[in-house]
């Protein structure tokens, strides 16, 4: 039997909620909630129609728990056709950080794998993205975006402002609460910032992908055990006038049945700032051999050109053209995006 809530009861409830919110705000002085969202409109040659669309809504919470402990949580809400509510919530990061000494920290939880600049810096912060869409390196799941585990990190050390990350995690094929095998993934990364606005980094990732795990596109089951190694290099320069970002990952997947298969994926981005306008371009390339069992065999080339207008640091508009050629054919798209932070 349905009960209607009277206006009076509704008023009391609102008052209690307001009181509770004020109390929470009062005791959590070092807790901040921020977020990002985007709205898109575009034409795609594959569908031959113009569509408007909602992008992700990303919420992230930071909280200073003690002098040494802090917390960062990030959740994404996005459209998902199979979901009964048509929306899915995903936990992107839950990280508890302990500051050991100076700029050295231990982190536990679900992290962005510190494998390259884009994943470490932007991830779901679409207002920061220099282009509308992520590079193909991400869209094609060439790198493991998340790792649940423990890591030790340091940053801005010495004159070169050296940073390092050493992470041990559940690895590919695992769930959020348990590993799917006994092997652990290991990520080791270092970067330097020798001059302002420039960051140069390299990383190494290794994992055993067990038979039965889903492949990179989560569409097939990996039929045999694969020993994976990823070597990544990146150079990022975001100055007052010029922007440049180049990243590449070489993958070596070894299995008893296919021996070692070498794949490569990378991109180069460049932009020039004219006050609040930044015309930009990006070139993506990936090559995966036919015998590869984890990545989807393909040779793919993409070109992106666009213009970004930064109204302020929380509101950015982009208009972008993209052309992709792969084994499936040729596709073009034109997309406009409003990305905001709040």
């Amino acid at each position: 039997m349905k009960k209607k809530i009277s206006k009076k009861a509704c008023g009391k409830l609102s008052f209690l909620l307001a009181l509770q919110f004020a109390w929470i705000a009062g005791i959590c002085q070092d807790t901040q909630i921020r977020g990002f969202a985007e709205v898109l409109a575009g034409y795609a040659s594959t569908t031959k129609k113009v569509s408007f669309g909602l992008g992700e809504q990303d919420l992230f919470i930071t909280s200073e728990l003690t002098d040494r402990f802090s917390f960062l949580g990030e959740s994404v809400f996005k459209y998902s056709a199979p979901s009964p509510t048509l929306f899915d919530i995903s936990i992107e990061r839950i990280v508890v950080k302990y500051n050991i000494k100076g700029n050295h920290n231990i982190l536990v939880g679900k992290h962005h794998t510190p494998i390259n600049y884009w994943n470490d810096t932007y991830h779901h912060g679409r207002v920061f993205f220099p282009t509308i869409y992520r590079p193909d390196l991400f869209g094609d799941h060439f790198i493991p975006l998340h790792t649940t585990g423990i890591s030790i990190e340091g940053h801005d050390l010495g004159k070169l402002k050296l940073g390092y990350d050493l992470m041990v995690g559940n690895g590919i094929g695992s769930g959020e609460t348990a590993d799917n095998d006994q092997a652990k993934s290991v990520t080791a990364a270092i970067h330097i910032k020798p001059v302002d606005h420039l960051r140069i980094g390299v990383s190494y990732y290794t994992d055993k992908i067990s038979k039965g795990a889903k492949d990179a596109h989560a569409s097939m089951i990996v039929p045999v055990d694969i020993a994976q190694q990823l070597f990544t290099g990146s150079v990022a320069y975001f100055g007052k006038r010029f922007e440049f970002l180049a990243e590449a990952t070489a993958a070596m997947d070894h299995s008893d049945s296919t021996a070692t298969q070498q794949s490569i994926a990378g991109y180069v981005y460049a932009g020039v700032r004219f006050k609040k306008f930044i015309p930009y371009g990006r070139f993506d390339y990936s090559e995966v051999p036919d015998q590869e069992l984890f990545f989807h065999p393909d040779t793919k080339t993409s070109i992106v050109g666009g213009i970004r207008y930064e109204i302020n640091y929380l509101t950015v508009i982009k208009l972008e053209y993209g052309h992709t050629e792969d084994d499936a054919g040729i596709s073009d798209r034109v997309t406009a995006q409003i990305a905001i932070g709040f």
Partner: protein, 149 residues
């Protein structure tokens, strides 16, 4: 008539914005800190490392808390230009990106120098930048041997 009003408003806005910008440029800024943590003197590169979140703790182990005037204030704009070499918007973006990456503790932003000064006096390890004024009672941290920036 409409044209006259529009011209008047535009001119007023341009003059106002130029005045604020000139005022921001001419501001003398001082660095103040809590008695615990920060040394009495810093050189410019040490100050920059602290102000850009590149240093998490002072040498005595006290955690650093950065306090800044909001970019919408004249002192905030002056701080952005003189300390960071950026616009206020760029400073906000810089910090938001670092906090989002989980690298640093977010700075605390204030509307008035008195609020900022109170925060610093009550927070061990805190350091901030304010306009030089007789109302600011805290002892300034010397930067490259100078009292003002």
């Amino acid at each position: 008539m409409k044209k006259t009003v529009r011209t008047f408003l535009t001119t007023t806005l341009v003059i106002l914005s130029a005045t604020i910008s000139a005022y921001a440029q001419s501001q003398n800024l001082i660095v103040i800190s809590n008695s615990k943590g920060a040394p009495a003197e810093l050189n410019r590169s040490e100050l920059m490392a602290v102000m850009k979140g590149e240093k998490q703790r002072w040498n005595d182990g006290t955690r650093i808390s950065v306090a800044l005037m909001k970019a919408s204030t004249a002192a905030g704009e002056a701080t952005s230009k003189k300390v960071y070499g950026m616009s206020g918007d760029e400073v906000n973006k810089y910090w938001l990106a670092l906090v989002f990456q989980g690298k640093v503790k977010a700075p605390v932003f204030f509307n008035s120098a008195s609020e900022l000064e109170t925060y610093i006096s009550q927070t061990p390890g805190a350091i901030g930048v304010v306009e030089e004024s007789p109302d600011v009672k805290s002892k300034p941290v010397m930067v490259d041997g100078k009292k003002t920036l």
